[in-house]
Amino acid sequence: MVIYSTSFMVSNLHEQGYFRTLALALTLPDKNSNPYCRMTDNSLLPLSTEQIRLLSELSGSLTPKQINWISGYFAGLSAQDMKVQLVSESTLTPSLQNDSGSTQKGKSLTILYGSRTGNGEGIGKQAQKNAIALGFDAKLKNMETYKNNDLKNETNLLIIVSTHGEGEPPFQAKTFHDFLFSKRAPKLDNVNFSVLALGDSSYLKFCQTGIEVDNRFEELGAKRITARVDCDVDFQDSALLWVTDSLLQLNDNKTITQQTETKYGYSETTSTFGKHNPFQAQVLEKTFLHGRDSNRQTLHIELSLENSGLTYEPGDSLGILASNPPELVESLIQTVNLSPNDKIISETGERTLSETLLKNYELTHITPDVLNRYAKLTDNNEIKEILKSQDRVKEFIYGKDLVDLFTHFPEKLSANQFISLLRPVQPRLYSISSSPQAYADEVHLTVGVVKYKNDDRNKTGLCSVFLSDRIEESDTVPVFIEKNNNFRLPQNPEIPIIMVGAGTGIAPYRAFVQHRELDEKRGKSWLIFGNRHSESEFLYQLEWQRHLHENSLSRLDVAFSRDYSEKVYVQNRIQEQGKLLFDWLENGAHFYVCGDMKKMAHDVHETLLNAVRKHGGLKQEAAEEYVLNLQQQHRYQTDVY
C-alpha cells in the first residue's frame, strides 16, 4: 500500500512554497520516525513526470497570493482523499496548541455552525484550524448552544448552516434562526460575515435556511466577506473553497505561516476506510423484524467490521453505498432507447452504460435538479411548466422514479446526454443500532424497507431494498462510519436518559441501552417507543423485555397508533407521564428524540414544553427558556430524519 503523509507535505507547502515541498518530499527523513510518513520503495516521489511538469508550469505563473490560496485549497483537499492515511487528531493537537499559545492574539473570528449531522461541525473545525494557522483568534460555536445576545458583539463571523426537509432550519439551528428573524434581532453594522449553506438539491427548497440567514444578515447591516456558497450533498470541494476564500479575504490575503490541520471532523476514525473508500463489510445476519400481520418490513442487519479499523460510538451512523436494482436499470435503458453496452467515459475510466447506472446515479426517485437539467437540455415546455410551481414539482415527482420521468416525457438522448441529467448516487446513512462494546467488530442496523406501488409499477427505495432484497448473508456491503457528535450518551453513565423514538428511530437506543448495560454505574433509563401495531411492529420486543427484567432499562412506554380506534403516538405517552418526565429532567436526565416521522419531533418538542410548563409551574417563556437550556447543555438531542 502506498501511504503518504499529506499533512507533512502540506505544511511544507505552506511554509515554503511549492518548489520547496518537492524538495522536502525528496529528502524525507527515516521512514520509521513517523508511522504516517512512508513512501514507496521504488519511487520516493508520488507524482508522475507529467504531473511534475504540470506543477512546474503552473507554479511558475502564480502570484504569491495565488500560491497562498492554492496551498490552502490543497491542504483541505488532501484531507478528503480517503485513500490517504490521515493523521489522527491527537498527533497534531499538541503542536497546534503550542503554536497558537505562543503567538499574540490575532483577529477575532467566530465560526458558527448549525447542522443535524456532523458535517457542519466538521467544516467548522477545519475552518477553525485553518484560521488559527493564519493567526486568527478563532472560536468554534454551535448554534444550538450559542448565546444569541453575543451576536451583536461579533466582528467576523463565518456561518455554516444546513437546511432540513422542505426548507426548514435543522433542529439545531432553529433557536438561532428564530432569534434572527425576531424583533429582538440586533443591528449588525459592525459584523463581517459569510454563509456556507449546506443542502440537498433533491429537496425543493435547496439551501433555503442558508439563503435566509445570508439575506437576513445583510438586512441587519452586516457586510459580506465573501458571497454565500451553496453546497449540495457532495459538499467537500465547495466547502473548502469557501473556507479558504473567506479566511484569505479576512486576512487581507496574507501568507499562511502556521501549520494547518488537514482533517475534517466528520470522519474522525483512524481507519483507512471512509466515504470515498468504503469498507466491504460482510453480512453476518439478516432478519426481518415485523410479524406476519404487518404490511411493512423492517430489516435488522448485522455486519462485520473485522479488520476494518472502523470504530464508532452509540449515536453514530453507518453510511452505505448501495447499487440500483438491475431490473430498474434495464427498464430505464429500454425506456430511453439506449443500449446497455453504450460506453460512458468518466474520470474513473470507461464503463458500460448499465454498469454506470447500476452504481453511480440516483434512479429510484426524481429530484428537482434532474427535472431542471432535463428541462434545460430538452427545452420541454411541459416540464418547464411544472417547474414554475414548487407544488407542481412536488406533485409530479411524488412516488416516481426515472423510468416514470422518461416515460412521461420521452426525448431522444445520447448516452452521455442522458448521463449528464442524472444525479450522482449518494450514500445512505442509518443510525447504528448496536454498541461496539456489546458487539465487538460488528455493526447492526435497523432499516425500514421502502416498497410501494405507484403508476402501476412497483417502486423501491435504493438502499433499504438493496439490503433487504439484493444482499444475502455472507455478501459484502460497502460501508463507512459517519460520526454524529450531536447524539451522544452523557459522558457520566450515572446520568439518567430519556429516549423517545418512533419506528426505526429506536435504532440508536438499542445501541445506548446495550452500551450502558455493561456499565454497573449506569443511571436510570426510560424508553418511549411508538410504531403502528404492537403484535407485529414492536421492534426488538424480546430485547427490551430482557433489559427491563435485568434493569438495564428502567422504564418502557409504548404507543402503537393502529392498535386502538383512536390513534396514540409517543407524544401522548409523554403527556400522560408529564410529571414523571419533569421529575427526571429535574434530576438531570438527558432527553433524546429520534425517528423518521415528519411531525413527531415537533409534536414531542411541544409536548415537552407543555410538560415543563405544567409540572414545573412555569409560564410559556420560562418553559421555553428551560427547554433551551436543556439544548444548550446538550441534554436535549435529536436525530430526526
Partner: protein, 570 residues
C-alpha cells in the same frame, strides 16, 4: 394431609382476593401481550385462557418478537340455548375482536379465539351485553351446565332446561371481581367496598374443574357419564319426575401416569326435580372438602371417589340428602350422537340439526358457514341450540318460516348429507393455539376422515354411525375415550388409537395401538372396518363389535382403563 404441599394453584387462589390477583395490572401492561403466570391461572375462572400461536413461535423468536399471545374466551350457554340475536352478537364480537372464528364446544359453549389482551375487556363486556357471560367458564369451579338438545324428542325438555339454569345460577361464583375487572361496575351506594363472600366455594374454590350435564333419554348427546355430576332426566307419562344421579365421571388423563384415567360416573340414586340443586351442592361441597389439593392430576371428583371409596361418598351424600336421595330409576339411552335434519317438536315448531365439522364456524373456500349462519340468524325468530356434539340446532322455527330456512340452507349448501363416521366425529381445538396439544385435531381431522371415507364407501359402511373422536392431547376435551374410535395425539403427527366405547356413552374404550402415523391409522383401521362390514350382527355397533371380536377387551371401569390390554402394536 397437612404435611403434603399444596399445589401452586392453591396458593394463587388463596392470595388472589377472590380471583382478582393482578389481572387489572396485567391488562394495563403494554410491554407484553401476555399476563403473569399466576394471573393466567386466575383468568381461567373469568372464562379466558391465555394461548399463543405455536405455529409462529420459531418465526417470531427470530423476529425478536415475543410469541403471538392471545386469549380464548369461553362463553357459558346453559343448556346450549341462545337466541338468534345472541348468535348475531357473538358473531359480531368474533369479527371485531377475535380471529374471527367461533368454536362450538363439546360442552355447549361458544369459544372466541385469538382475542388479544387489549381487546379482552371490550370482548367480555360485549358478551355480557348480550346477556351471556364467561365467568366460571373455565377454572376450578362448576362450568357450563349442559342439557340434551332434543326439545322435539322430549316434552320435558323445557323443564329440564329450567333446572339446568337453576343449577347454573346456584353454582356460579359470587365474587365481585368479575364485574370489577370487566364491567367497570360502580360500587353500589358509594360505600366501602364489601369483602367478597363465597358461601359455597370459599376463597380457594374447588380443587379442580367440575362439570355437570343433564341428559334427557333417549339421547345422551351430553355424554352424561363423562361429567363429575350427571343427571338423567326421568319422565313418567310425559312429566318430569326427577333425576337419576351419576357422580365421578371425567375424561382427562396424563400419558405415562396410570393413576390418571378417564372414568364414567357411578349411579348413586334419584332425586326429585326440586332437590336437584341440593344434591349438586352436597356433591360440590364434598369434593371441595375432600378433593386432592396437592396434585392437580388427581384432583377431580373421580379420583376422590376412588380414593375414599364409592360407598363412603354415597354415605356422605345420603347423610346430607336423607330420604331425598332415593334409589335410581330405570332409563334407556339410544345414542349419544345427534340426529340431523328437520324434526317436528311437541309444540308444533320445527328443529333443524346442522352438522358443524369440528364445531368450527368460519368461512373458507369450501364453505361460508359463518356468513350462512349469520344470514339464517337474521331471518330466524327462534333460538339456536348448541349441542354437546359441537353441532347446532336451528330451533323453534314456525311452520310458516320453515321454507325460508330451507332456502337458506340450500343457498349456502348446508343441507349436505355426510357419512356416518363424519357426522359422528368430534375434534378439540388443539394446534396452533392450545398450549396443551401435542398434535393436530380440529384442523386435521376433516382430511383424515376424507381418507377413512374411501374405505368406508368401499365397504359400504357410509350410513353406519360410528363415533370418531380426536384430541391433540390426553386431557379429553372431545371426550376421546368415549369414541368407538378414539385418536389421541401423543406427538406431532402421531396418535394413540383407542377402540371399543359404547355407542350410548356408557362404556370407555381401550388402547389398541400406539403412536400411529396417518398411514398407520388407515392401515390399522381398514381390516377392522372390513371385518365389521362383513361380520357384524344386525344392529351391532362398531364399539361392541371390536370387543366381541376381541380386538380389545371391554373397559369395565375407569380404574381398569390402562389394564387388560391386548398386545399393543408398536
Amino acid at each position: 394431609m397437612t404435611s403434603i404441599k399444596l399445589s401452586d394453584v392453591e396458593r394463587i387462589k388463596t392470595e388472589s382476593n377472590y380471583l382478582r390477583g393482578t389481572i387489572q395490572e396485567g391488562l394495563a401492561d403494554r410491554i407484553t401481550a401476555s399476563i403473569s403466570a399466576d394471573d393466567q391461572q386466575l383468568i381461567k375462572l373469568h372464562g379466558a385462557y391465555q394461548q399463543q400461536n405455536r405455529d409462529l413461535d420459531d418465526e417470531r423468536r427470530k423476529q425478536k418478537l415475543e410469541p403471538l399471545y392471545s386469549f380464548l374466551i369461553r362463553i357459558r350457554v346453559p343448556g346450549g340455548i341462545t337466541t338468534a340475536q345472541q348468535w348475531l352478537d357473538i358473531d359480531k364480537l368474533a369479527d371485531m375482536y377475535g380471529n374471527p372464528t367461533i368454536k362450538l364446544t363439546t360442552r355447549q359453549a361458544f369459544e372466541l379465539h385469538g382475542v388479544v389482551k387489549r381487546k379482552l375487556k371490550a370482548t367480555i363486556k360485549g358478551i355480557n351485553q348480550t346477556l351471556l357471560d364467561t365467568l366460571a367458564a373455565c377454572g376450578d369451579v362448576n362450568r357450563n351446565v349442559m342439557t340434551s338438545a332434543n326439545p322435539w324428542e322430549s316434552e320435558i325438555h323445557q323443564q329440564v332446561y329450567d333446572d339446568a339454569r337453576l343449577l347454573h345460577t346456584n353454582l356460579t361464583p359470587q365474587t365481585t371481581a368479575y364485574h370489577e375487572i370487566w364491567l367497570n361496575d360502580e360500587l353500589v351506594g358509594g360505600g366501602e367496598k364489601k369483602e367478597d363472600i363465597e358461601p359455597m366455594y370459599s376463597k380457594t374454590y374447588l380443587p379442580r374443574k367440575f362439570k355437570i350435564a343433564i341428559a334427557i333419554p333417549p339421547r345422551n348427546d351430553v355424554d352424561v357419564y363423562a361429567n363429575d355430576l350427571g343427571l338423567i332426566a326421568i319422565a313418567e307419562d310425559g312429566k318430569l319426575i326427577g333425576y337419576n344421579i351419576l357422580a365421578g365421571g371425567g375424561m382427562g388423563m396424563t400419558f405415562g401416569i396410570e393413576t390418571t384415567y378417564p372414568r364414567l360416573g357411578d349411579l348413586i340414586g334419584f332425586v326429585k326435580p326440586e332437590n336437584a340443586v341440593e344434591v349438586a351442592k352436597a356433591i360440590v361441597i364434598w369434593q371441595r372438602d375432600n378433593g386432592n389439593r396437592s396434585d392437580r392430576k388427581n384432583a377431580r371428583l373421580k379420583y376422590t371417589i376412588d380414593r375414599l371409596g364409592l360407598n363412603e361418598f354415597k354415605k356422605a351424600i345420603k347423610s346430607e340428602l336423607g330420604d331425598k336421595l332415593e334409589p335410581a330409576k330405570p332409563f334407556h339411552f339410544e345414542s349419544n350422537g345427534d340426529s340431523y335434519g328437520w324434526k317436528k317438536g311437541f309444540n308444533g315448531k320445527w328443529y333443524y340439526t346442522l352438522f358443524v365439522e369440528g364445531g368450527k364456524v368460519k368461512n373458507d373456500s369450501k364453505l361460508q358457514l359463518k356468513t350462512a349462519l349469520q344470514e339464517i340468524a337474521q331471518n330466524h325468530n327462534g333460538n339456536f341450540i348448541l349441542t354437546g356434539n359441537q353441532n347446532l340446532v336451528i330451533a323453534d322455527v314456525e311452520e310458516k318460516d320453515k321454507d325460508k330456512i330451507d332456502q337458506l340452507l340450500e343457498k349456502w349448501k348446508l343441507n349436505k348429507h355426510f357419512s356416518g363416521i363424519r357426522r359422528n366425529s368430534l375434534a378439540c381445538a388443539a394446534l396452533p393455539l392450545c398450549g396443551l396439544a401435542f398434535a393436530e385435531a380440529e384442523r386435521y381431522l376433516p382430511s383424515l376422515v376424507d381418507k377413512i371415507e374411501v374405505d368406508i364407501v368401499n365397504l359400504n359402511l357410509q350410513e353406519d354411525d360410528i363415533l370418531l373422536r380426536m384430541t391433540g392431547c390426553p386431557n379429553g376435551c372431545a371426550r376421546p375415550y368415549l369414541g368407538e374410535i378414539g385418536l389421541v395425539g401423543k406427538s406431532p403427527g402421531k396418535y394413540n388409537l383407542y377402540l371399543g366405547a359404547g355407542f350410548t356413552g356408557n362404556r370407555l374404550n381401550k388402547l389398541y395401538a400406539e403412536l400411529l402415523s396417518e398411514d398407520e391409522i388407515l392401515a390399522t383401521l381398514k381390516p377392522i372396518l372390513a371385518d365389521y362390514a362383513l361380520n357384524k350382527n344386525t344392529g351391532e355397533r362398531f364399539g361392541d363389535f371390536v370387543i366381541r371380536k376381541e380386538y380389545v377387551n371391554a373397559t369395565t371401569e375407569g380404574i381398569a382403563f390402562h389394564s387388560d390390554l391386548k398386545k399393543i402394536s408398536k
